[in-house]
């Protein structure tokens, strides 16, 4: 086949062109239409109650891992408990966003202390915190405890320290708090019911 130099170049160019097409994956991969995986498949389900309002909606919390020892069960999803007779699986905008409360960047993580007049927090240990608070409480109680009032009647009260109790903590914590606070003789004692 009489092939002039120029024709030879043309044939090579054409050959190169088409082959590069194949080399670059000329045949498109078969894109699957698979649906995204269901993210709760192997998580651990725990039943709880929403801490916000007093409808007391039942919730299901899905924790990472299947309770194996070496996993820190991190909650990855919260939705309504369909068996709960009041909310029947529904949640309001706050309940449906509970995950962001559990994982809020503003969650407190360790005991902190602010000295009088200081402009910053300092991290302290639990034991140090309990020791110093107990000291402050005892000194203030011993100094200001009122055994008898002006008329000489036994009153056994201590008014110079007050206590505000949480109304999202459980009955058990509330009961324990009440026992402790009354045993100290505190009367300045309230919870959110007051507002």
């Amino acid at each position: 086949m009489q092939v002039t130099r120029r024709q030879f170049f043309k044939i090579c160019a054409a050959g190169l062109g088409s082959s590069s097409l194949v080399m670059m994956g000329f045949s498109p991969t078969e894109a699957l239409a698979e649906v995204r995986q269901y993210k709760l498949s192997r998580t651990t389900e725990t039943r709880n109650t929403c801490p916000y309002c007093s409808v007391g909606c039942g919730i299901l919390m899905y924790g990472l891992g299947d309770k194996a020892k070496n996993v820190q069960a991190e909650i990855i999803h919260i939705e309504g408990d369909p068996d709960h007779p009041v909310n029947r699986g529904t949640l309001c905008p706050k309940g449906a966003g509970l995950l962001d409360f559990v994982h809020s960047p503003n969650r407190l993580r360790y005991p902190e202390y602010r000295a009088a007049g200081s402009n910053e927090w300092k991290r302290i240990s639990w034991d140090e915190a309990f020791t110093r608070i107990a000291r402050l409480v005892k000194d203030d109680r011993d100094k200001n405890f009122i055994a008898k009032n002006a008329d000489g009647a036994t009153v056994n009260r201590w008014l110079s320290t007050g206590f505000l109790a949480a109304s999202a903590s459980s009955n058990e914590s509330g009961y324990l708090t009440h026992k402790v606070v009354r045993s100290l003789g505190i009367l300045g004692f309230d919870n959110q019911a007051r507002v």
Partner: protein, 806 residues
């Protein structure tokens, strides 16, 4: 709530007033939607704003914030004048027929016995006339002019539609439309439920507003009925539980009360509370007060509580006055307080007059914060520019901030509005070194006990003898505490009739408070919770949601106090002869030997119909009170008093007495109230559905749904002030100012009140200088320091502000 959430689906008419169920309790509001869809029920909303509840209501009427009693009084008057009341119910189950003492009077806004200096009443005259046996005299024929019914009729005759429209600003026709709709429920088989919340409680006359609502329901015969009742929509997940457990200045668990300092003798303390029946044959269940009290003392102080020391009666602190939060912060502001604990509470944001609260906190020696989140209170000493302009160097308070767990990281039970105690399970570890509330309180207490054991000190006895039988002293388990407040037998409990028969062996859990004894042989931390953890285990964790009657009474789901009863006063759902007012919605019935049915009877099980014993077993009268005798601070009949910051500077009913004469006002606060001249607009604070108080601004999703502080004003006011939607505005009260974005809306209308055009400014509360949402002002910078005369709940819902474009 007298009823519960699911029961709302049984209502024919739902009145949402003084609350916004669709926004504040959306999942509970589902049952209003179900009532509308399944029973063709009608929803009526009365609110200063056209709220999201109004958006799905059948009828909405505007009202000027703070004039609820005028409105409700007008409705009562309408029912009485149009004879639209459930006569048989009212005659049998209320004190309508009781005769009141002669010396009881009401003139020009003042009841008999007012003491100007002490701003309180001597309430001796507010009582029924008693016969020689001490029983209240009754006139069933209602001829005696001093019958409660006649006094009430005369009292509310003054609330004509014109007077009501003039005070509330609600157009007369709209007020009458609401009255007509409500009147339809006077028929025995038509039931209305009232759903209210802080819109009613946060006024200087809050308790009386609720009483007026209760009177309305009594006149219509709705209390005790399925789909009826007075339903308070509590705000927090366990505000009901902590109130039941008595975590309030003057309470002990189970709504028992602390002794006052004048009650030096234990027996008089008990007798004053163990009320004897005021009518023959009534149950007057508070007669059992000693059993509950002694059992509590045994639970707290164990063996140290003996008959000899009156079961440690003197170990309890005695009240000089109620130390509610307003009183505490008044004392703190005067430098009388040294220490303060905030366990999951953010007072700088939640209490009125933020400047005063901040100033008071600065005078403390030490402040302890226990919270899962960063709160404004914990950083009250930090300077946050306009939002919190303080100088840390000048604040000498030592602050400890202890991280606690949140709901997902602890076991325990919560009580919802419907009095259901529901157990929840821990699903994850807390972040960092955070610890549960039990661990924190126990840690503090055991450290303190050590100090007292080592060094002694002031009156150590209650501390050293407090029962602490927990397996791990510094970390009591939720199960142990739950069993403790359920109560157990300390000795074998034998049957009174047959001493040989042992009902409960020593150490066993009690089945209900009926088994409590006043001889020290039983211990029970909270008598109304008795039955929550019996020998059959944790009743609060039950999960059978079957509803055999279809009325929504799921008795095997969790456990409700008292004794798992779901609809209180359900005996009143039948006439005295035992026939249900509405056979379609039958709750209980008499089967010949005892009461039973789809709910736990609120009655003595073996007392047959026709017996004189009446359904309201807690009241000495055995019946519900239209005339509240001496139980309320400002009068046996609710009367309209203006908010302390009134837009009209008078009280159209009685100009001589404008605001609540019996409300406590601290020295200096009366002058601090803003006047209409300088602050012409009525402001009201409230919650949005996307946020929960000051918590959810820390949650990214909720911060996205409502990112920035705003206030709401009507189009008319906006035009007058040249404010467009989206403009930045400054809202000022006599105590401070906030800046926010203006939402201009058709949903707030100017109202004609006492001849004046009154505008309303809506101020949501959810912003502060901590959180992921845009930083904002604490709304309570604006609110006045005055509380309800009975509960001291601050008047957040009606005060005066001025507004201008920034």
């Amino acid at each position: 709530m007298t009823n519960h959430w699911v029961d709302i689906k049984n209502a024919d008419l739902i009145l949402i007033m003084g609350g916004n169920a669709a926004e504040a309790h959306p999942c509970g509001f589902k049952w209003v939607t179900e009532a509308k869809a399944q029973r063709k029920a009608r929803l009526v909303v009365v609110d200063p704003r056209f709220t999201r509840s109004a958006s799905v209501a059948d009828y909405y009427a505007p009202i000027r914030a703070g004039s609820d009693i005028a409105f409700l009084g007008g409705v009562i008057n309408y029912l009485l004048t149009h004879d639209k009341i459930q006569h048989e119910y009212v005659k049998a189950y209320t004190d309508a027929t009781f005769v009141v003492r002669e010396d009881y009077t009401f003139e020009n806004g003042m009841f008999s016995g007012y003491n100007e200096a002490k701003r309180s009443y001597d309430k001796a005259t507010w009582m029924y006339e008693l016969d020689k046996d001490g029983y209240a005299i009754s006139d069933p024929a209602l001829q005696n002019p001093r019958c409660v019914f006649n006094l009430m009729k005369r009292h509310y005759a003054r609330y004509t539609p014109e007077v009501v429209s003039n005070i509330t600003g609600t157009p007369r026709d709209q007020f009458l439309k609401v009255c007509e709709t409500i009147a339809t429920c006077s028929a025995p088989n038509k039931v209305m439920t009232i759903m209210y919340a802080l819109g009613w409680t946060q006024h200087s006359v809050g308790s009386q507003i609720i009483r007026t609502g209760a009177m309305l329901q009594l006149l219509l015969g709705n209390i005790g009925m399925a789909g009826g009742g007075m339903n308070a929509l509590r705000g927090h997940s366990n505000i009901q539980g902590l109130t039941d457990l008595g975590l309030l200045s003057n309470l002990l668990p189970g709504y028992m009360t602390l002794p006052g300092e004048k009650e030096t003798d234990f027996q008089t303390y008990l007798d004053k509370r163990a009320l004897k029946p005021l009518r023959p044959g009534q149950m007057s269940y508070w007669q059992n007060y000693p059993k509950f009290h002694v059992s509590l003392m045994k639970a707290w102080f164990g063996d140290a509580a003996t008959r000899e020391n009156n079961f440690c009666f003197d170990w309890l602190p005695k009240l000089d006055k109620v130390h509610d939060v307003l009183q505490v912060f008044e004392d703190m502001n005067q430098g009388k307080m040294n220490g303060y604990f905030c366990q999951g509470f953010n007072p700088l944001a939640s209490f009125p007059n933020k400047a005063k609260v901040g100033g008071a906190l600065a005078k403390l020696k030490y402040l302890v914060i226990i919270d899962p989140l960063v709160t404004e209170t914990s950083t009250f000493w930090e300077n946050h520019g306009e939002f919190n302009d303080v100088d840390p160097a000048k604040i000498q308070t030592e602050v400890f901030r202890l991280p606690s767990t949140c709901f997902a990281e602890e076991d325990g039970s919560l009580v919802n509005s419907g009095r259901w105690l529901q157990w929840h399970y821990k699903g994850a570890e807390p972040p960092g070194e955070a610890r549960g509330d039990n661990e924190i309180m126990a840690g503090l207490f055991t450290k303190l006990k050590e100090l007292y054991k080592k060094e002694g000190g002031a009156f150590p006895d209650p501390i050293l003898n407090l029962t602490w039988g927990y397996k791990i002293p510094h970390a009591p388990a939720a199960e142990e505490l739950a069993r403790e407040f359920n109560g157990k037998a300390l000795a074998d409990l034998t049957d009174a009739k047959d001493p040989a028969k042992v009902l409960v062996k020593a150490g066993e859990q009690l089945a209900s408070f009926a088994q409590l004894r006043d001889d020290g042989s039983t211990a029970c931390g909270c008598w109304i919770f008795s039955g929550s953890w019996t020998d059959k285990g944790n009743q609060m964790a039950r999960r059978d949601s079957s509803d055999p009657s279809g009325l929504g009474n799921t008795l095997n789901w969790a456990w409700a106090w008292p004794v798992n009863r779901r609809v209180l006063y359900n005996r009143a759902s039948l006439d005295p002869a035992g026939k249900p007012w509405d056979p379609q919605r039958k709750l209980i019935g008499w089967d010949g030997a005892k009461w039973g049915g789809t709910d736990v009877p609120d009655f003595k099980p073996d007392v047959p119909p026709g017996d004189p014993m009446n359904p309201f077993i807690m009241n000495p009268e055995g019946v519900a009170r239209l005339f509240a005798i001496d139980k309320m601070a400002e009068g046996p009949f609710p009367e309209h008093y203006e908010p302390f910051e009134t837009p009209i500077d008078t009280n159209p009913m009685h100009p001589g007495v404008i605001s609540n004469p019996a409300a406590r006002v601290f020295k200096g606060d009366m002058e601090a109230f803003g006047k209409a001249k300088e602050f012409p607009y009525v402001a009201t604070t409230y919650r949005l559905t996307e946020h929960f108080h000051y918590w959810t601004k820390h949650a990214r999703i909720n911060a996205v749904l409502q990112p920035e502080q705003f206030i709401e004003i009507g189009e008319e006011l906006a035009q007058a002030k040249g404010i467009k939607a989206g403009d930045k505005v400054k809202v000022r009260s006599n105590r401070g100012y906030i800046k926010a974005v203006a939402v201009v809306t058709k949903r707030i209308r100017a109202l004609e009140v006492a001849g004046k055009k009154v505008h309303t400014v809506g101020v949501p509360i959810h912003w502060g200088f901590q959180g992921l949402a845009k930083n904002g002002f604490l709304t309570n910078t604006l609110t006045p320091v005055v509380g309800d005369a009975n509960t001291q709940t601050p008047e957040f819902k009606a005060f005066l502000v001025d507004i201008e474009k920034v």
